[in-house]
């Protein structure tokens, strides 16, 4: 068997046939976390990329086997920490599906609004980080200006800025803050006014376009085969939006378009995310004024027990399809739980997308994959 520690030792020397093996990571500015890529280079050209994972693996799946159905939600906030609301929502949906819990309309509305806000926040962070990968520092601050408003809203509502744990089986943990609607509307106005700045600074920049167009191309066929989901697959022309295909909560009541580009390159992935932010705004606008009055949480038992059987739910996080597969024996804890994280599949396509291109292209490709390492490592 191939030995990982050997690889790291090897890299002090040149590889075979004059190849250069570089360890990108675990600490590297472009991996945004502790991802370790062993990159084989021929000059500046990438021959092979091998991801090595596990630097922050916490075996959440094993942990969940000894946590109850109320507790395991908190762990999922720590997986894809940029979509923690949506992860929580997936867990809540799973328990609700298993136990047939009725969720009040009010909670459904708020859940969707929060999911979309989370999506915008995540895409904002991605936009800034990706531009920074390509050497443009300024968009980072512009993106964070808007993201900050969202985190403030989240903080007011849930008490947390990153790991929310606000959505519980049956609805929400607390009712929303009285200022919630006002603040969200203020955010929408601000976002709409400022979104043109991204267009000017990033989208229409000729250097940005030449760095991303035709870079890291993923065909629709490969995208499906690699199990890519979310903006990565949609940029390749694969329709895979869970919100459209298998609507949950009130997604079937709102009007929005599934953003699909066909080029499959980094620029297409960029465009998908930027347009998705606008669609999210559209969804929020439709819901924010019509949040019904009523309970914020349905009636649930104190001890949640899923019936014996297997359950699978999926939600659309900012990175793609997040699936939870639970095998229950009828007890208070799951027998086996599997998180199907979008980043894991997206990462597996990296070698295919970046091999043969330059190191600089790797940054564009990896940046537009939008990898969140705890999501991959779990």
């Amino acid at each position: 068997m191939y030995n990982q520690t050997e690889v790291i030792k090897d890299t002090s020397e040149l590889g075979a046939e004059g190849e250069l093996i570089i360890n990108m990571g675990p600490q590297h500015p472009a991996t945004h976390g502790v991802l370790h890529l062993v990159v084989t280079l021929n000059g500046e050209t990438i021959k092979k990329i091998e991801p090595h994972l596990g630097y922050i693996h916490r075996s959440i799946e094993k942990m969940c086997e000894s946590l109850t159905y109320r507790q395991f939600i908190y762990v999922t906030s720590r997986m894809d920490y940029l979509s923690s609301h949506i992860n929580n929502l997936g867990c809540a949906l799973l328990v609700e599906k298993g136990m047939q819990i009725e969720v009040p309309e009010r909670a459904k509305y708020v859940r969707v609004i929060l999911s979309e806000l989370t999506r915008i926040a995540s895409h904002e962070l991605w936009l800034g980080a990706m531009a920074m990968d390509l050497g443009a520092f300024t968009p980072f601050f512009y993106a964070f200006r808007e993201r900050e408003m969202i985190t403030d809203i989240m903080e007011e509502t849930c008490g947390a800025r990153l790991t929310m744990n606000y959505i519980v089986p049956g609805g929400l943990m607390y009712d929303i803050h009285p200022d919630f609607q006002k603040k969200v509307k203020a955010f929408i106005t601000q976002f709409k006014a400022k979104v043109t700045e991204y267009e000017d600074l990033v989208t229409n920049n000729i250097i940005f376009q030449s760095r991303t167009k035709g870079v890291g191309v993923l065909t629709a066929e490969d995208a499906i085969s690699f199990g890519c989901t979310g903006p990565v697959a949609r940029a390749s022309g694969v329709s895979c939006d869970i919100r459209k295909l298998y609507p949950y909560d009130v997604y079937d009541k709102v009007e929005f378009d599934e953003v699909i580009e066909t080029a499959g390159d980094s620029f297409a992935r960029y465009m998908v995310r930027v347009k998705e932010m606008n669609q999210s705004i559209r969804i929020i606008e439709q819901l924010i004024d019509t949040i019904p009055e009523g309970d914020f949480v349905g009636k649930t038992k104190n001890v949640l027990k899923l019936p014996k059987g297997e359950f699978y739910t999926r939600v659309e996080t900012a990175r793609g399809e997040f699936g939870i597969y639970v095998v229950s024996e009828g007890g208070t804890t799951p027998h086996r739980i599997k998180f199907r994280s979008p980043g894991f599949s997206n990462l597996s396509a990296l070698n295919h997308m970046a091999a043969g291109s330059k190191i600089g292209d790797l940054m564009a490709t990896m940046g537009t994959l939008d990898l969140v390492i705890p999501d991959i490592d779990r």
Partner: protein, 150 residues
Amino acid sequence: MTNEEIKEYIPSIAPNAILDETGEWLNITIEPSELKSFATALKEGKLQMNYLFCVTCVDWKTHLTMVYHLSATTHRQSIVVKANVNREAPEIETLSGLWKTANFLEREVFEMFGVNFLNHPDLRKLILEDDFKGYPLRKDFEDPINMIKL
């Protein structure tokens, strides 16, 4: 394509398969030795199951069950394929030739459950250290130092 049609179609490609409809999706349990040919038929045949979205394994203490969640981007029907493998020396054919995503997902199962995927192009540890002993997601895995029992 409806669930009924899938149910009628399955026996034509895998006569020994056991169908189970209790869950949300159609569960098909087959012999590990038939997995590869069955999967090929699912992908290339009438069902066009081109999207493998989840590969995992469940430890039942007596045996391991490989679970494959499959879907098609054309008709959007999902099915679950299961194969029970021996717990002592688990071995199953790899599907990474059919779905590229299986490459990484199977590597994860390999190190977490110790299932040996035959003909896998690159079967080595992805997450754990090389000298890690044991299979963490199996039910009998014990690590007195790092594991906290609740």
